[in-house]
């Protein structure tokens, strides 16, 4: 399938201008400033921005119109991401708009759609993903968290791990085992949990970034209405896979990747070797060119997947795997180049500079701490959402029939 590349699509110029103008007026200065410094946002700051986007329907612009979205073509979605990135806006949140939402509008009942979709569209609520468990990583279907029926409720017991932003979440979508005897993929159900339910404990995991992003989530006799189950009991694996394909497309945030390249270009300009800026260095420029080829390729793969999603309701599992594989490798490659520059400043990591209110003195370029944070954080890019090894297995089996 051949698709126009985003850059050449002049029909989107007006829309791009609208997004630029919107960001100019609506992006709160405190967020703009924090984004510039790579500082962590507070939840309320993030939500306030998502709500502004939500007032235009832009959180979910790529959803079909009949599902409450704006029915954007892939090119328009990519253009939107690009403009957000260029304006220094925070990246789009994927847990609600890319993961939970499409599962709910595709497999949920009317009540569930009424209850949950508006909050996602408007950007009011924060979602998290209850998938991985200590014994179920790459082998996700081995999950053990169980949900036993008790009247109109399930009683949930068990543990999730690596749950990003669970400490912020209002809701979690989770995979739980509802049939202990069935084959492992056939005893799983997909449920929605209100994070305020008694019996849920969230415990932080400090990452190699030295930041708090990940959590463990424990369930101790957590009562969840059976009405919160999506689709049929024990058919959760089907919905889980549908979500994974969307997640993998969402894993590659081209705006963020593009922003990273810009950041590295800036770092090169700010870094001198024997008095000359690295931006004048042919080897570094060659590497930038190589990264830009990677970006153009990943954007093209992305456009294919978004188009496939519009035609058939979901990206293909294989296509999403290929995109995830190359997109995350690209992201790591970009950030590695950043570290190759920062080695010349002694590889200082002032992680405190990423907290609001820090007033210490920075050694080296201002974006150093942000670039190192991102580098460390994105070591996980080839692990989360299904490791690269898992993506290759999917392609080997699914696409090549091996």
């Amino acid at each position: 399938m051949f698709i126009r590349t985003v850059e050449h699509d002049t029909s989107l110029d007006k829309f791009r201008a609208e997004v630029r103008d919107f960001c100019e007026r609506e992006l709160p200065p405190v967020i703009r400033e924090k984004q510039k410094r790579g500082q962590h946002l507070e939840k309320h700051e993030y939500i306030s921005w998502l709500q502004r986007l939500g007032s235009r329907g832009w959180n979910t612009g790529k959803w079909p119109k009949e599902k409450g979205g704006l029915g954007w073509e892939p090119a328009q979605f990519l253009a939107f991401q690009e403009e957000l990135g260029r304006a220094g806006a925070p990246p789009l949140m994927s847990f609600g708009p890319t993961m939970a939402g499409p599962v709910i509008y595709t497999f949920g009942n009317e009540d569930q759609k009424r209850q949950h979709l508006p909050g996602i569209i408007k950007g009011d609520l924060w979602w998290c993903q209850g998938y991985s468990e200590p014994g179920a990583g790459s082998d996700l279907a081995a999950l053990k968290t169980r949900a036993d029926r008790d009247g109109d409720d399930y009683i949930v017991n068990g543990q999730k791990i690596w749950t990003s932003t669970a400490h912020w979440a209002d809701w979690m979508f989770a995979l739980v085992r509802t049939d202990q005897k069935a084959k492992k993929q056939e005893g799983i159900s997909f449920i929605l949990l209100d994070m305020k339910t008694p019996g849920i404990t969230v415990r932080p995991i400090i990452g190699i970034t030295l930041g708090h992003h990940l959590n463990e989530v424990f369930f101790d006799n957590v009562r969840v209405p059976i009405a919160n189950r999506i689709g049929e009991e024990n058919k959760g694996w089907t919905y889980a896979k549908f979500l994974l394909a969307n997640e993998r497309v969402g894993n590659v945030d081209v705006a963020k990747v593009e922003g990273n390249i810009e950041q590295i270009r800036q770092l090169m300009a700010e870094t001198r070797e024997a008095g000359k800026p690295l931006s004048d260095d042919p080897t570094f420029n060659r590497r930038l060119a190589e990264l830009e080829v990677g970006l153009a390729t990943v954007k093209a793969l992305m456009a294919d997947q978004l188009a496939a999603a519009r035609l058939s309701g979901a990206p293909s599992l294989m296509g999403a795997a290929a995109l995830k594989l190359r997109g995350t490798e690209l992201q790591q490659g970009i950030l590695q180049t950043g570290l190759d520059v920062l080695g010349r400043h002694g590889m200082v990591y002032q992680s405190d500079a990423l907290n609001a209110g820090w007033n210490g003195e920075m050694i080296g370029p201002e974006s150093s701490a942000d670039v190192i944070y991102e580098h460390l954080y994105r070591r996980a890019a080839t692990i989360y959402g299904g490791s690269s090894e898992v993506q290759k297995n999917i392609i080997a089996k699914g696409a090549l029939g091996l």
């Binding site: 690295l278 590889m347 990591y349 070591r379």
Partner: protein
């Protein structure tokens, strides 16, 4: 070249691994690294290392050392990497000891005894903000001031500088066009201002500004105004090969730990180590570690033999080791999955240390470029 017999080398290696494995396990490491208000390393540990004779392993006998060569020092540094020790080996025992030994007068060489005894901490402050990895880039100036000198300039980040008793600072003598000298400057001297910060791997250090720092004539290493760039070149080469040794030790631990983890981690009804694609990955990690070890040994040998092509071999060792370190460190995290991303597990800390070793004094790309330029010049 005086050096230890192979039996003595083996004993050194065994005693390092035994004592460090016993007392310097990761839990202990965390305690030191995270001690509130701490210096980021252990003073008591440093003293113990001195008592074991490890700090003086390559220092002359008259300084209380063992008069070992680079191979012996490399054995110590590999152990530093195996346990990602936090104490300032590289700054004090490798770089500054080399500076004093190579450039110091008889009188100045007395500092070597204090190094061997664990009583003197030093930091080598040569690189400057505008220089990148270029070794000859020195803009700091030491103007004559009475009988002594007054130093003005900026120095880049150096691990351990925050706690060093003395800094060895390079500066151009007289003017910006003058020969480069090496000066011993007390960290607490008036006019020295440090910006303390942690490195990627958490070890603290500092960048600094020197604003008219007054030192005596005896602060300059060596008696004359001889240009020290060639000596600095040798000092940095020693740093390069020792950073490589450290990386080799760290890679060995990463490979061992990852093999063990994949043997125990069950997915799809079997240990991960049963998957051929992961077996091959582990093999590549193991072979990478061996490749690096082999070429680093060759470089150490060349230095000990004072071989004509020693520098070339040191640079080649850095290229290969840096490439291997990147691969092994990255795969260590990848194969540990989410576990590898946590601050609680050691594997991420090894990744960070390997990244430091990889980039210190120049990365693979930089040394490849130097090697290429030499080919063109030849």
């Amino acid at each position: 070249m005086p050096s230890l017999s192979s039996e003595e080398r083996q004993q050194l290696h065994d005693s390092l691994l035994e004592l460090l494995g016993d007392k310097y396990a990761f839990e202990h490491w965390k305690k030191i690294a995270r001690a509130p208000g701490g210096e980021g390393f252990g003073r008591a540990e440093w003293q113990e290392f001195a008592d074991m004779g490890w700090l003086g392993i390559a220092l002359p006998e008259e300084a209380g050392g063992s008069a070992g060569g680079m191979t012996e020092l490399g054995i110590v540094m590999a152990a530093v990497g195996r346990f990602i020790l936090l104490e300032p080996f590289l700054g004090t025992v490798v770089l500054c000891a080399a500076a004093i030994e190579k450039a110091g007068t008889e009188r100045q060489r007395r500092m070597l005894s204090d190094i061997a005894a664990g009583k003197l901490l030093l930091a080598f402050c040569h690189a400057e903000p505008g220089g990148g990895y270029a070794r000859e880039w020195v803009k700091t100036v030491a103007t004559r001031d009475g009988a002594g000198y007054s130093l003005t300039g900026e120095k880049g980040f150096a691990i351990g500088a925050h706690a060093a008793d003395q800094l060895i600072v390079s500066a151009r003598i007289g003017s910006e066009a003058g020969p480069v000298g090496l000066f011993v400057v007390p960290r607490a001297a008036a006019g020295v201002s440090l910006i303390q910060a942690p490195a990627l791997d958490g070890r603290p250090g500092a960048a600094m500004t020197l604003a008219g720092v007054k030192v005596g004539a005896d602060a300059k290493l060596g008696g004359s105004d001889m240009d020290m760039l060639a000596v600095i070149d040798e000092i940095i080469d020693r740093g390069v090969v020792m950073a490589c040794c450290e990386a080799v030790g760290a890679m060995a631990t990463v490979t061992d730990q990852t093999v063990e983890y994949l043997k125990t981690r069950q997915q799809f009804g079997q240990p991960l180590s049963k998957f051929q694609v992961l077996q091959h990955r582990l093999v590549d990690m193991s072979v990478s570690t061996e490749e690096a070890r082999a070429i680093v040994h060759a470089a150490l040998q060349a230095l000990d033999d004072k071989a004509k092509d020693a520098q070339r071999l040191v640079w080649m060792a850095k290229v290969k080791t840096a490439q291997c370190a990147r691969f092994v460190g990255g795969q260590g995290i990848q194969l540990h999955g989410g576990m590898g991303m946590t601050d609680e597990l050691s594997i991420g800390h090894y990744y960070k240390r390997l990244t430091m070793c990889e980039t210190l004094f120049g990365d693979a790309e930089w040394y490849l470029r130097q090697l290429a330029q030499r080919r063109e010049a030849a």
